[in-house]
């Protein structure tokens, strides 16, 4: 994920974000659209800049929107990995990769919002490249 790399996320975090988006898209294709080809999926990425308590932190927000069947809320909770069985790992991969995962469904529009933050820095502090 080039944007994540440019924003300064570590290679492992970039791989995690790529995996999260891939798993989210796979879930939409399999479950929301029941494998039907040619259905619309919108993917939006944007940089975030939050300021609070004298600190600022940047982040990457990813919105994935589909117009298929809404996800079963229980399936978004993931499952215990102590139970060795196929299935249910995709949500785990997504949760491992991001700081925020929010799912909303209204009027046949389903939106998955994923956010990954960069480490917070003190306001006014200069960031020296390489540190």
């Amino acid at each position: 994920m080039r944007l994540a790399e440019e924003m300064g996320f570590a290679a492992e975090q970039c791989r995690g974000l790529t995996r999260a988006v891939d798993e989210a898209l796979a879930n939409i294709i399999r479950h929301a659209y029941d494998g039907r080809p040619g259905q619309p999926i919108e993917l939006l990425c944007r940089r975030l800049q939050d300021r609070a308590h004298g600190k600022q932190r940047g982040g990457l927000e990813i919105l994935i929107v589909d117009h298929g069947a809404a996800a079963d809320r229980k399936s978004l909770c993931g499952r215990s990995l102590d139970d060795v069985r196929p299935g249910g790992l995709g949500v785990h991969f997504i949760k491992e990769a991001v700081d925020v995962m929010q799912y909303t469904s209204r009027a046949r529009t389903n939106q998955l919002r994923l956010v990954k933050y960069l480490p917070a820095t003190k306001l006014g502090a200069k960031t020296v490249k390489g540190e």
């Binding site: 492992e12 891939d22 798993e23 399999r30 060795v84 196929p86 790992l89 785990h92 991969f93 491992e96």
Partner: protein, 110 residues
């Protein structure tokens, strides 16, 4: 993704290349299950050296293969995991569940 089978005595070695993802994991699952359920192969080794990417459906195929192996008293062995494939199995807490070796020689000697 490409998958081909070599046979050495009572062992089947499946050479897999490409991505084991939503589009291709069913083929991996089908071939692995065929070895255990139809051929009753005592030992199946998956060569993952040329696998670039495994998603959750790919991991699920491997887990199904492992369960099928256990059901018939056979073994499923993996070798040549790329760092990305290793990372995915680590995230899934499955590294200790599978028999994993670095090389084909090590897998065959196990």
């Amino acid at each position: 993704m490409q998958i081909s089978t070599r046979r050495l005595d009572k062992t089947a070695i499946l050479d897999i290349s490409g991505d084991i993802d939503l589009a291709h994991s069913t083929e991996v699952r089908r071939m692995v299950l065929f070895e255990f359920r139809q051929n009753r192969t005592p030992r199946v080794i998956l060569n993952l050296h040329d696998v670039n990417y495994i998603d959750s459906s790919g991991v699920a195929s491997l887990v199904e293969g492992l369960k099928a192996a256990r059901d018939v008293g056979s073994r499923l062995i993996l070798y040549g995991l790329s760092p990305i494939a290793h990372e995915v199995l680590q995230l899934s807490k499955l590294l200790k569940i599978f028999e994993i070796y670095d090389t084909e020689d090590m897998a065959l000697e196990a």
